[in-house]
Amino acid sequence: MRDKKYQEIVDKHKPKENRISNMIIAFIVGGIIGLIGNLLVDLYTYFFHISTTEAGVCMIVTLIFIACLLTGLGVFDLLVKKGKMGFIIPITGFAHSMQSAILDYKKEGPVYGFGANMFKLAGSVILYGVVSAYVFGLIRYLFFGG
């Protein structure tokens, strides 16, 4: 039997993924996290009398702390099962990816263990984040006058 015919059998028995509902859930959950972030920025500027930029940094630190804490408590992956990628796409997902890798490689020690593996998932995000920031920064500087 040719591979194509076998692929037809495989596709026939493949269940449909709930893509649309997953997307809607992720959209709402991600949106709620964005809303929380914005509320935090407003709160920080109101109570601590700091600029929006500084409040933004504080908001990011707060969200990262909460995501790491929930990962350590073993709750975050259960939340992702309910809220889908809504929890992963914001900054919380980035913190979660690093924290979960650190937890996994704790036993291998600080150098060969979590030191070497904490960027296992987040490494690509950082690399391409920095590269694209550089490229877009350059485009902006050259074509739009900085």
């Binding site: 039997m1 591979d3 015919k5 076998y6 692929q7 059998i9 495989v10 026939k12 028995h13 493949k14 269940p15 993924e17 997953n22 990962t71 073993g74 975050f76 992956d77 259960l78 939340l79 992702v80 099962k81 889908k84 990628m85 929890f87 992963i88 979660h96 990816s97 924290q99 979960s100 890798a101 937890l103 996994d104 036993k107 296992k120 998932l121």
Partner: protein, 329 residues
Amino acid sequence: MTNKLNNIYVKNAALVAGKLEKEGPFGKYFDKSYDSYNIDESLELSEVKLGKDAVDILLRKTKLKKDDIELLVGGDLLNQICATSYAVKNYNAPYLGVFSACATSMESIIVASSVLESSDLKTAICLTSSHNLAEEKQFRNPTEYGYTKPKTATFTSTGGAAILLTKEKTDIKVTDYTIGKIVDLNQTDPNNMGAVMAPAAADTIYNHLTSLNVTPDYYDLILTGDLGIFGREILKDYMKKKFGITLENYNDCGAMLYDMENEKEITAGGSGPVCSCLVNYGYVLDNLKKKNFKRVLFVTTGALFSPTFVFQKQNILGIAHAVSMEVVK
């Protein structure tokens, strides 16, 4: 390649399982179970403990001492089959490590039986183990990492399984075995292992049946290892279309092991080398002993999967080994 065995019998088996496996329909056949995944210091050592426990319980059940072990054959999914090697290091017995991913259990029976038949040895223990989180850590994402799994993804079973083969006559005889070939039908999705392994299983079943010149109903039950509920349907369909064989008295261990109605997390079924053993060495052997089944064909299926090779755009290879067992008076 199919071969007949003349003088190999099953003495007894021992099974250790995790919590979800215990809650499944075959929970009562397990000798021991653990509620937590953290059995020992690390996830890998927890898997070692599962294997060690299985051998210890088997020795206790068969009233053998540590020094009575003549041969140990086994393997698992961790790199360099370390879990099995560390599990057996204190038994001071000759040891052969084997690997066919989730088809390891039947490969170990084939190797052990062949050694027994061609030597003066009288007994051999076959061992295999897997641990859900240790395997997740090695093959997929960090264990605490949350992500949405596709429905076709299987769930690695947690447990250890040991079986004692002997030349002394018992009720259950190991009759024939078929060594499977590697089958590659361009499957690249690590989240759909059922599709990778189904053609390998079909090939092995077909070769086994034609070599012995029998039809599927010669066996009371044909069991594949861990194709899952979707892979099971692919196998039936493929078997019919390619070889013109309809499988009726057939099921899949991965699809049977869990209580999937209440455990929504497990969408396609169980997998891992121990998954098939938890059904085969418990429920099936018990029914063979009670003579509810007369002949059974075990076809364990393995996906020879390496993340490195998949990232290098290589296909995932499938393999299946078959062993048949029969009740003798």
